[in-house]
């Protein structure tokens, strides 16, 4: 393992320059160049045809919906849409790529020169977009025979081409300097913003856990005032948390090397989810000769200005606008809203409110208890096994006095354990505030007779002593009593 510097010390000495390359699988019905379905999770090699298997003689025809989706992404990222653009072949051999070239774009991407604005700690960063282009995804390779299912040590590999040919949009930023110590957060915020933008366009479900958004992180370090350093390209960074970790790791690793006077070599590295480390991959020397040339099997594209303007006019409200609107509607302060954004909870809270609860209730659960649970599990908030509708249902039960906060947390346990909706969990686990006053009065009577000294104090006017009796009643009712009601009954009886 590489020697690592302490992060804070590293960013005192070096300035990071970020670069992000993101691949997003589009949600089209069919693949980029053939009519095969793109549905996720099908049996291996059942969504393939002569074109996406690269059988001899097969030819591609471009999917119009994919072109349209890419232009929409370009417009949402403030890009210029090319007047004239074409596909190119990127030639390299790999078994998951049936033609042994990827149909991609080279010198003439569909969209160029855009930007995205992201806020971190109240500071806006403008991330310049170099290009947005359209290409095709590869198949999936299963490595078998090794201990870990990883390529290293595997004795053979098995290839499924269902994914081969699914339209893939590649979004490349220009180098991003000036983020300083916040580089990991800016990188994460950018990817989150990109994901939200694409999701708002309805052109991809952008599920990082299913691999429909994948990220490569470029990073270099330089001392202030010096030229930018040599960058590494870390592949396989497939969650928001990983983006942050990969940047942090590379800063710590590269700075340690630079401190030792070791030159950084331009290379591809791989990110390992389990350890948060990166390791070297194939060296650039062999890899860069992709022998790009214009794809002779496809016609050039000339997106008409009328069509582009039509698409621009039809763009939905973008995330930044939407956040401003929601913040106002929800009545949140800037800080609170920033917490919501950082927790990646905007959509979750919006959906929870839409399901019938108050913004305050929705914010309370998602930022409080549920964020805590997600952290514990090392998972994204949205990956928790509870839906916004269930959170709304939960808060509704609290509002109705059927649950108190303590009980509600137990209900969450049940929901996350897959026991059903909050109502079902409460019923199954018998978690409900006891509202039967007869039963409560009996419990209070029992508590009074068990604690005569305390009862005497209360009669004497020391109302604070009621806590002891309340505790006893709560214990007796397994926490299902409403503390306020219990206190009222006690004071009525002893007051």
């Amino acid at each position: 393992m590489s020697r690592l510097n302490d992060y804070d010390k590293a960013v005192e000495t070096y300035e990071p320059v970020l670069g992000l390359e993101t691949h997003i699988e589009l949600d089209t019905n069919t693949k980029m160049f053939c009519g095969c379905s793109t549905a996720f999770g099908a049996e291996p090699n059942t969504q393939t045809c002569p074109v996406c298997l690269a059988l001899p003689g097969a030819l591609p025809v471009a999917n119009k919906a994919a072109i349209e989706a890419t232009v929409k992404i370009g417009l949402a990222l403030n890009c210029h849409i090319a007047e004239w653009t074409r596909f190119a072949r990127k030639n390299y051999f790999y078994p998951d790529m049936p033609k042994n070239f990827q149909t991609s774009q080279y010198e003439e991407p569909l969209c160029e020169n855009g930007y995205v604005e992201v806020a971190v700690d109240g500071v806006d960063y403008r991330i310049e977009i170099e290009r947005v282009h359209l290409e095709e995804d590869t198949g999936k390779t299963l490595h078998v025979g090794g201990a870990t299912g990883r390529i290293h040590g595997a004795t053979e590999s098995l290839v499924d081409y269902n994914r081969a040919g699914i339209p893939l949009v590649e979004i490349v930023t220009k180098p991003v300097p000036g983020t300083g110590a916040l580089a990991p957060e800016v990188a994460k915020a950018y990817v989150a913003e990109l994901r939200d933008i694409v999701r708002s366009l309805g052109v991809s479900d952008v599920r990082m856990e299913q691999g429909s958004l994948r990220c490569d992180v470029n990073l270099s370090l330089n001392k202030p005032g010096e030229e930018w350093g040599t960058r590494t390209e870390t592949k396989n960074v497939n969650s928001l948390r990983s983006v942050e970790r990969a940047v942090r790791y590379e800063v710590r690793r590269q700075s340690a090397l630079l401190d030792d006077g070791v030159k950084i070599i331009q290379e591809t590295r791989h990110f390992h989810e389990s350890t948060g480390e990166t390791s070297p991959g194939r060296s650039k020397e062999e890899a860069t000769d992709y022998r790009y040339f214009p794809e002779p099997d496809l016609a050039v594209m000339e997106p008409s200005r009328e069509w582009v303007e039509e698409l621009r006019a039809g763009l939905p409200e973008l995330p930044r606008k939407r956040r401003e609107r929601l913040q106002a509607t929800w009545g949140l302060g800037d800080k609170e809203m920033q917490s919501v954004v950082n927790a990646d909870a905007v959509g979750l809270i919006e959906a929870t409110v839409a399901a019938g609860t108050t913004p305050t209730g929705a914010v309370k659960w998602w930022l409080g208890e549920l964020s805590r649970r997600a952290n514990e599990a090392g998972a994204e908030l949205g990956a928790l096994a509870i839906t916004p509708e269930q959170v709304a249902e939960l808060q509704g039960m609290v509002d109705d006095g059927r649950l108190n906060d303590k009980l509600a947390r137990q209900v969450i346990d049940g929901v996350l354990a897959g026991e059903g909706s909050p109502v079902e969990v409460a019923a199954k686990r018998g978690l409900e505030v006891v509202s039967d006053t007869g039963a409560l009065e009996a419990a209070v009577d029992e508590a009074i007779s068990a604690n005569p000294a305390v009862a005497e104090k209360i009669r004497g006017g020391t109302h604070a002593a009621a806590g002891v009796l309340i505790g006893a009643v709560m214990k007796a009712t397994k926490g299902q009593a409403d503390a306020g009601t219990v206190r009222k009954i006690i004071l009525e009886k002893l007051g």
Partner: protein, 99 residues
Amino acid sequence: MSTISREEVAHLARLARLEVTDDELDAFAGQLDVILESMKTLAEVDTDGVQPTSHAVPLVNVFREDRPQPSLPRDAVLAGAPDTAEDRFRVPRILDEEA
């Protein structure tokens, strides 16, 4: 003088995933030289401001609607494969990259 060396042919063969014998290397190096010599005549041609031609009729915006078509039955997909396992194409271990 030779335009293309034996070593260069070997490098190109590697890029193209061709195992070539020493005899082939020698033969190809000589033959490619002759061909490349003739190609150098293209350098004389003045093509300033000339747009490239790729097809007989310039075609633009040739697209397909996003409507699914039937895929091949899996049996047919795998029938021609040199080796399969678990309904997938089996290949020997991949050496060149950690993924």
